[in-house]
Symmetry: C2
Subunit: 341 residues, 2 copies
DNA sequence: CTGAAAGCGCTTACAG
DNA sequence: CTGAAAGCGCTTACAG
């Protein structure tokens, strides 16, 4: 592998000059410039990014931290991140945490080690607060996407989860439902919290009462939601929900399948709403009514925030961006008001 | 940020000694050792990976190159890659190519720049052959997963696509189908090629004739497959297929939706088989019969192959691993033989 | 307009 | 058992 030294020798200039033409960072005599360029192409030279990184103390890489890239919610975020990062010459590292705090710590370490310049975390938990706080105090940069952390001063972008849940609940209420269950995900996630609050608020505003069983977690995943639905549908009729709001579309798929297996028909006997609007949800086979979360946009904005922060530095003027959501009405809630006992 | 020098000073030893205790690479007097460790924890020191990387000429990172991480086929591969890489202390870079050759070139450059030690490409195309060849001749390491490149000497892992297609075709034939269409994806991909060959072979063995229209591409995506299905189903009855093999499950979803919209019922009037066995395919709403591709295993093996090659080096003894596939019979092909005209 | 040299933060022969 | 020093491949003040 040729190095800058080889190029300098071959073209009879100093390594400094080679560096200058490489980076176009100061005027070089045309003649020399040409010789350098020739040597570069002849020796098939490509500058070593690690050496450069060490010298300028920048890696031109960022980490994208996610609980599980296998969850169809996240790839869009990751894609957006890469699309944008790439235009700025950044490379992206992906890191699955499985929502385990020590994996998140590991992610923070990547920037401490200088492997990446900053980090986007989509899997923040309440219990990460102190670690993030300390991390930022040390001058490292982080931006939160998707999940936020209460009381933490940091750049972040989240969906308007509260209102999404309000919209979902109201929609069901307008359709005549009174027994509406809300199926939360893991605790410590701001998403569960905000959506639950929206649901609670809307239920109260509608004058509807809530049975504690209606708040049983489905872990936001397929199988958890499947099981919780079995439980919910097995409740005595007076408190058996006629509608279920699932924290995610993937969870809603579990709800739908449990209903199918129990032979309760959707939307006639059970209405279901998800969150996310995954590709699959719009498919003829599924036709799930759901609250659409603008994932690509979220990833894009998170990346911009990170880039900005990387440029300007500092620990103030943090931005918290809340993206509007949209209720996508499809076929899992019924199209018209039907009498519900 | 503390450096190794700070630690050396604070604990009154040489930087060499600090390095040795850090890496546990030679015996250090217990006393000093303790002082070093103390200094490290007091100053919150974490070694700079970039400096280390420059010195040892290894980045401890690999790239995972994919056409589109947003395609639900790939995250499992990426996850497997990260899971395994992580145990070896490697970090993983993700890179979407959109099947554009220049993006693949860009990926190769990451290793030329020393940003990563090697690269796993899941998006290889026939037209990449020369570039890969040259790349490997320069001593860089690459392993192919999912898609292979004919005539290229390289470590690789692919599914047994030929037999998968044979199994799918035979299954349909046994069910009584004679007019079986096969919907290819993009050209240049070994997947389309192998599966098409399997289909062709099985059709011939069954003594079935093929109309050229039956080989119209669906681009392996939802909308392309949707359109191609409209076309196929619009053919005059004597050559309208009664069964469609889609190159992917995502494509099969498009086939299914087109059928629904055209009011041809599955499996009664149309049988469909996909490839992949995505999570969604097993769902009650879909119940797609499909050829299962062991994605996680594939990602895992690709990563092992890369790690091995990184350790032993060399340009010989390349391994080509072919993973067995499995036909998962669900509901889109009919359960029993029905008479088909 | 251009070059010699310091230095980024490590590891690792080499010498003692 | 331990340290001084070279060197990985760059960039960038500094001097001319």
């Amino acid at each position: 592998m040729a190095t800058i030294k080889d190029i300098a020798q071959k073209s009879g200039v100093s390594v400094a000059t080679v560096s200058y033409v490489l980076n176009n960072t100061r005027w070089v005599h045309e003649e020399k410039r040409k010789r350098v360029l020739e040597a570069i192409s002849e020796l098939n030279y490509v500058p070593n990014a690690v050496a450069r990184g060490l010298r300028v103390q920048k890696s031109k890489a960022i980490s994208f931290v996610v609980s599980d890239i296998t969850n169809p919610f996240y790839p869009d975020l990751a894609k957006a991140c890469e699309d944008l990062a790439q235009t700025k010459g950044f490379t992206i590292n992906i890191l699955n945490t499985d929502d385990k705090p020590d994996r998140t710590q590991f992610a923070l370490n990547q920037v401490r080690e200088g492997k990446v310049d900053g980090i986007i975390v989509t899997s923040a938990l309440e219990q990460d607060r102190e670690h993030f706080q300390k991390f930022m105090e040390q001058g490292y940069v982080i931006v939160l996407a998707n999940r936020s952390v209460k009381g933490l001063q940091v750049d972040s972008v989240v969906a308007d989860n509260f209102n999404g849940a309000v919209m979902a609940t109201n929609h069901l209420h307008e359709l005549g439902h009174k027994k509406i269950a809300f199926m939360p995900g893991i605790s410590g996630s701001s998403i569960t919290q905000s959506r639950m609050n929206g649901y609670l608020q809307a239920m109260e505003d509608a004058g509807l009462t809530i049975h504690p069983e209606w708040l049983t977690s489905g872990e936001a995943r397929y199988s958890g939601s499947y099981k919780t639905t079995q439980f919910l549908l097995g409740l005595p009729e007076w408190k058996r929900p006629t509608a279920i709001i699932s924290l995610t579309d993937i969870g809603a798929l579990g709800v739908l399948d449990a209903a199918t297996d129990l032979e309760v028909s959707v939307p006639d006997d059970l209405a279901v709403i998800g969150f996310d609007d995954l590709f699959i949800s719009g498919t003829r086979s599924v036709q799930l009514t759901t609250v659409k979360i603008p994932r690509y946009e979220m990833g894009s904005i998170a990346t911009s925030l990170l880039m900005e922060r990387l440029e300007k530095g500092g620990k103030s003027d943090f931005q918290e961006i809340v993206l509007p959501v949209e209720l996508i009405v499809r076929k899992t809630c019924g199209k018209r008001k039907t009498e519900i006992k």
